[in-house]
């Protein structure tokens, strides 16, 4: 009953919600790519070549801490993307019986949600590098290095996954193959 009422109320705004959904998808997918490819990766790669170089280590740490701040836009867009997606599902003519939407939702639930949950934790909660550095609790240097190592492993593992599934989800949403 409630869903039907909500659907009826949302139908006139379907295209506006779709615009918002697409805008959030663009921000979520692309907002960190320049920083990742052109600032964080070069800093990490330069440090990997000379792990004992204090200057490269400092630059790696700065790049990583700035990246933690830089993903805020992405992490604001993601829940809005999910919310607008649910509204589209409620208001639109498409359902889980459609091939493209069922595959898209499988990817969102089984790939994007776990990755983003981990990313939120690494960037803003327990894994936030700046918070660890200024905390002064326990062995700060060790905790900091562990946080960097975890975040770097996460970025290495998630890069191929997001680059493939991100494009696949965009394709499914635009082309809507039956």
């Amino acid at each position: 009953m409630f869903v039907e009422q909500l659907s009826a109320a949302l139908v006139p705004y379907y295209l506006q919600i779709k615009f918002f959904h697409v805008a959030c998808a663009m921000i979520w997918l692309a907002s960190t790519s320049v920083a990742y490819i052109n600032y964080l990766l070069p800093a990490i790669k330069a440090w990997q070549r000379a792990p004992d170089d204090e200057r490269l280590l400092r630059q790696r740490n700065i790049a990583m801490e700035r990246f933690d701040q830089g993903v805020v836009l992405e992490h604001v867009a993601f829940p809005l993307l999910l919310l607008s997606g649910l509204l589209l599902l409620t208001a639109g003519p498409w359902g889980l019986a459609h091939f493209w939407l069922s595959l898209k939702l499988c990817i969102v639930v089984l790939v994007f949600l776990p990755i983003e949950a981990m990313d939120y934790w690494l960037s803003h909660f327990g894994g936030n590098k700046r918070a660890i550095r200024v905390s002064g609790q326990g062995d700060v240097a060790l905790s900091y290095e562990q946080a960097i190592a975890h975040h770097w492993l996460f970025l290495v593992v998630s890069t191929p996954v997001i680059s493939v599934t991100g494009l696949l989800v965009l394709y499914l949403a635009v082309v809507k193959p039956v």
Binding site: P51, L57, C106, V156
Partner: protein, 90 residues
């Protein structure tokens, strides 16, 4: 900060991760997707050999692609690595 972390995960670790990612496609994503197709869309082709072949192909592709990308991220060629000078990263 003291440098206590290794520079990069080993190629063996990355290979195991890539295999796990392929297995995740084959053993989690594909069964969930076909279960949705079977129970919600009543699609008779769910869990068919054709779908299984596509899932195996996708899993293999994910494994190979992921391993290549992850290795390239962890082993930068010396001559292509970017050299920062002091103050470049702000």
């Amino acid at each position: 900060m003291n440098n206590k972390m290794s520079a990069a995960p080993s190629p063996q670790t990355l290979s195991k991760i890539a295999i796990a990612m392929g297995a995740y496609v084959l053993l989690v994503i594909w069964p969930c997707f076909d279960a949705l197709r079977l129970f919600i869309a009543e699609d008779n082709r769910a869990f068919s050999l054709h779908h299984l072949a596509v899932a195996v192909g996708s899993a293999l592709a994910v494994t190979i692609f992921s391993q290549r990308v992850m290795l390239s991220l962890c082993r930068p060629p010396v001559d292509k690595a970017v050299h920062f000078t002091e103050g470049e990263v702000r």
